[in-house]
């Protein structure tokens, strides 16, 4: 009896070892697949002997040439543009999203349900559709081409109130009794927000800032519309997209790789530092729908 039990448990242990080994193999392969493009991009950014696409990865000659070429190109301007946009959007969008989500979470006013339903329906329209008109409006205001930066900030921030879902979900989890207790003690609604709710909402504030800061680095379509071929008004995505088009890829391919590294490093570092908050926000958002 004892022997059979022992045998069974040994069998179990063996099968667990096998399955764990399999999992380790899969995980290692996955990590490699997920990292390969980024390793390649870093390696190719140091390639000196040629600037176009080649079929091998490891450079034959190493050097900083591509980064120096980057420094001497319009890339500086694009980088600065994107950074300014990202910074401004991170601040302003956070304020707007917090106003919106806090209000919809805490106040019960007459048009609240109608407003939320209306915004849900608005969100079903493809945003692409509104670009043409927004472009014309910005053009009338003189905020396109070389002045694209304030124009882009305006558009990103103005429509950001629609993205309140995740942080509203967070505010919903803060017990209402806290508000009520403070109100009994004579605090106004505004004081409740600034003195009690905001300090508790630190994770969601950081999440909102982080996502708002990261989005402009990747925005491509609208930014391309607004800059309209003027290099001074481009962001990194639009500028570097041009380098991979047929007429330029021969000279600019390795520069694109170098540029990609320069863009990715600060964003990635910031993201990894604040990863905890991002994970909380994403998970919470999915659970609440």
């Amino acid at each position: 009896m004892n022997e059979t039990l022992e045998k069974r448990s040994m069998g179990l242990r063996a099968s667990r070892t096998i399955s764990n080994t399999l999992i380790y193999i899969v995980l290692v392969i996955m990590s490699v697949v997920w990292l390969i493009p980024f390793i390649c991009i870093v390696l190719q950014s140091f390639r000196v002997e040629s600037t176009w696409q080649v079929g091998y990865v490891i450079p034959q000659q190493w050097g900083w040439d591509n980064y120096i070429a980057l420094w001497n190109s319009d890339f500086k301007r694009w980088y600065l543009n994107t950074f300014i946009i990202a910074l401004a959007v991170a601040v302003l969008q956070t304020v707007i999203v917090l106003c919106m989500s806090y209000t919809l979470s805490r106040f019960r006013f007459k048009l609240r349900d109608g407003l939320m339903r209306f915004m849900l329906i608005l969100g079903m329209f493809p945003g692409m559709l509104t670009m043409i008109i927004l472009y014309r409006v910005l053009k009338d205001l003189g905020l396109t081409q070389a002045n694209a930066v304030p124009g882009l900030i305006l558009v990103y921030v103005a429509s950001s109130g629609m993205g309140y879902y995740v942080s509203k979900g967070f505010f919903d989890t803060i017990p209402k009794s806290l508000d009520e207790a403070a109100r009994v003690d004579g605090a106004t609604r505004a004081q409740v927000l600034t003195k009690i709710i905001l300090p508790l909402a630190k994770p969601i504030v950081i999440y909102t800032i982080l996502t708002a800061f990261m989005a402009p680095w990747g925005d491509f379509v609208f930014a391309r519309y607004v800059s309209f071929g003027t290099s001074a008004g481009m962001n990194v995505a639009v500028g570097m997209y041009g380098w991979l088009q047929l007429d330029q890829i021969g000279q600019k391919y390795t520069m694109f790789c170098a540029g990609g590294v320069v863009v990715a490093i600060p964003v990635t570092i910031l993201f990894m530092c604040l990863q905890k908050y991002y994970v909380e926000g994403v998970t919470g958002g999915a659970v609440k729908g």
Binding site: P37, G55, Y56, M128, T130, A158, G161, T188, V287
Partner: protein, 513 residues
């Protein structure tokens, strides 16, 4: 169909249960659509009743009002000022003055032009000084449409404010009659940071949404009923005007003027739905699978595996997607490697192959989308999986359940139950996933069968990338793009409505606590 009670349902065999669930799902769809129409009917009935009530109320207010109230019907805010609510009264008055000034100076012009979208187009006019004909510009259809819509918004706002002003008078009159104190200007200001703090908080976000989201959407919906395009740009080349439903007919008829639009549209829509389905569910199940592997007891370095995946989220998509698309190019790294290894003789054209309706590029975008999407889903799934009570697994193991049974009976129902709404939104946002398609393939390879359609349609084009292509270039057919956009909205709205109405019934049937 026959409905079973809970007890009868439990007696059914597995296959019957599944069949029953399936038929009740589809049986619920007509009811959901029926309910939708009922709801629309109810909405209009309530709207009609509401409007009638408003008019009755305005009338009685005038009949029973004193001179202050009656004067306010013409000069807004007069009653409030006369009763000592100076701040409110002044704001009403100011709004009226601004409104009248705007309507007299410019608003009237936009409104009068709105039905025709401009009368005088660009034309050659005799210039006596130069003794020659020079090009003269007339009305601007684009501005007429834009500012016309804005003026309508303004008029609606004015009517609402006027109604509020009348209501204020009525309330104030009743308060004074009952001997109660009216709110002073100071009270009004104080309440903006207290009871009515929501008004302060919402003012800025809603203004932004109104001007930068609602106005453009209304405008673009209206464009679908005009002939606004590159040649009819409304100012430089020619005016554009109202066309009725003809653009919708162009898109939906089976044989338009030489161009078979509806076939093209149908093909792109089908691919869009196929793409959205695979993009959503491959990511969902594979992401869940990866999360379960990392979460498994006895696996070490959990944090490392997670970090590797999460890091890829941080890198802006335009870098990773553009780079990956070049990796798989004909002269890219992947082909180079395969050729070096001698596994293939000729470079594979990953993005250009048109065989089998572009099957290879289509599969490629789905596969690369998995690469993009798994890290997100892994994060989400990890969070949810950790919340599943561990004793469920323990007790099921004691009952002799194997890993697969545990997955299908515990993990999967729990995940689906919690992430149902997320799956829906993820499906609809995949339908509009512009970045992945545009940065990877740009819609290529070109679909020769659809060569007549606007915007050179490709096999991997989604409706949204097609829409974008239509609006670029000198021949930009904005009206067609706008029709396509409306169709996307209709599809998304129908899917969302049907699924939302059916979703709770599925949830209830879930025998999961």
């Amino acid at each position: 169909m026959k409905r079973y009670s809970d007890l009868e349902f439990l007696k059914l065999s597995k296959g019957q249960k599944f069949l029953y669930k399936l038929t009740s799902f589809f049986a619920a769809i007509p009811r959901a659509i029926g309910n939708l129409f009922l709801a629309i009917g109810r909405f209009f009935k309530n709207l009609g009743l509401g409007v009638a009530n408003e008019f009755k109320d305005i009338f009685t207010t005038f009949k029973e009002g004193d001179w202050k109230t009656r004067a306010s019907f013409l000069v807004m805010g007069l009653g409030s000022i006369a009763r000592g609510q100076v701040l409110r009264g002044l704001l009403f008055l100011l709004f009226e003055i601004v409104f009248i000034f705007y309507m007299v100076t410019t608003g009237g012009y936009w409104m009068s032009m709105l039905p025709s979208l401009g009368k005088i187009g660009p034309h050659d006019e005799y210039n006596a000084v130069l003794d020659a004909y020079t090009k003269t510009y007339g009305d601007n259809s684009f501005k007429i449409l834009l500012y016309g819509v804005l003026t309508i918004f303004f008029i609606v706002a004015f009517l609402y404010t006027w109604r509020m002003n009348v209501k204020q008078n009525k309330i104030a009159q009743e308060y004074l009659k009952a001997g109660r104190r009216l709110k002073s200007s100071g009270d009004d200001l104080r309440s903006l940071v207290d009871e009515q703090f929501y008004k302060t908080l919402l003012a800025l976000p809603l203004t932004g949404i109104l001007i930068f989201t609602v106005l453009p959407i209304v405008f673009m919906i209206l464009v679908a009923f005009t002939n606004y395009d590159g040649t009819h740009d409304g100012y430089n080349n020619a005016l554009f005007g109202w066309q009725g439903f003809s653009n919708f007919r162009t898109l939906l008829t089976w044989s338009g003027s030489g161009v078979n639009y509806s076939a093209t549209f149908g093909e792109i829509l089908t691919w869009t739905l196929i793409w959205a389905f695979f993009a959503t569910f491959t990511n969902y199940f594979l992401g869940m699978f990866v999360a379960m592997m990392i979460n498994k007891k006895g696996i070490r370095l959990k944090k490392l595996w997670r970090t590797v995946l999460v890091m890829t989220i941080a890198i802006p998509q335009f870098i990773s997607l553009l780079y990956v698309s070049k990796m798989f190019a004909k002269n890219g790294i992947v082909n180079g490697l395969l050729l070096d290894l001698g596994w293939i003789k000729q470079a594979i054209d990953f993005w250009g192959s048109t065989a089998n309706n572009g099957l290879l590029p289509r599969v490629m975008v789905i596969v690369i989308n998995i690469w993009i999407g798994i890290p997100y889903l892994m994060l989400i799934a990890t969070g949810i999986l950790m919340n599943i009570p561990a004793d469920l697994y323990e007790s099921s193991r004691i009952d002799g359940a194997n890993a697969w049974q545990q997955y299908t009976k515990i993990t999967l129902p729990y995940m689906l139950f919690i992430t149902g709404p997320y799956l829906l939104t993820s499906f609809t946002s995949n339908m509009n996933n512009f970045n992945v398609i545009f940065l990877l393939t740009g819609g290529a390879p070109t679909n020769a069968a659809a060569s007549g359609a606007a915007g050179s349609v490709g096999y991997t084009d989604l409706l949204i990338t097609w829409l974008f292509k239509i609006t670029t270039g000198a021949e930009a057919q904005y009206y067609l793009a706008s029709v396509v956009g409306i169709m996307v909205f209709v599809v998304v709205a129908v899917i969302s409505l049907v699924v939302y109405n059916v979703l709770p019934s599925i949830k209830n049937e879930e025998d999961f606590q």
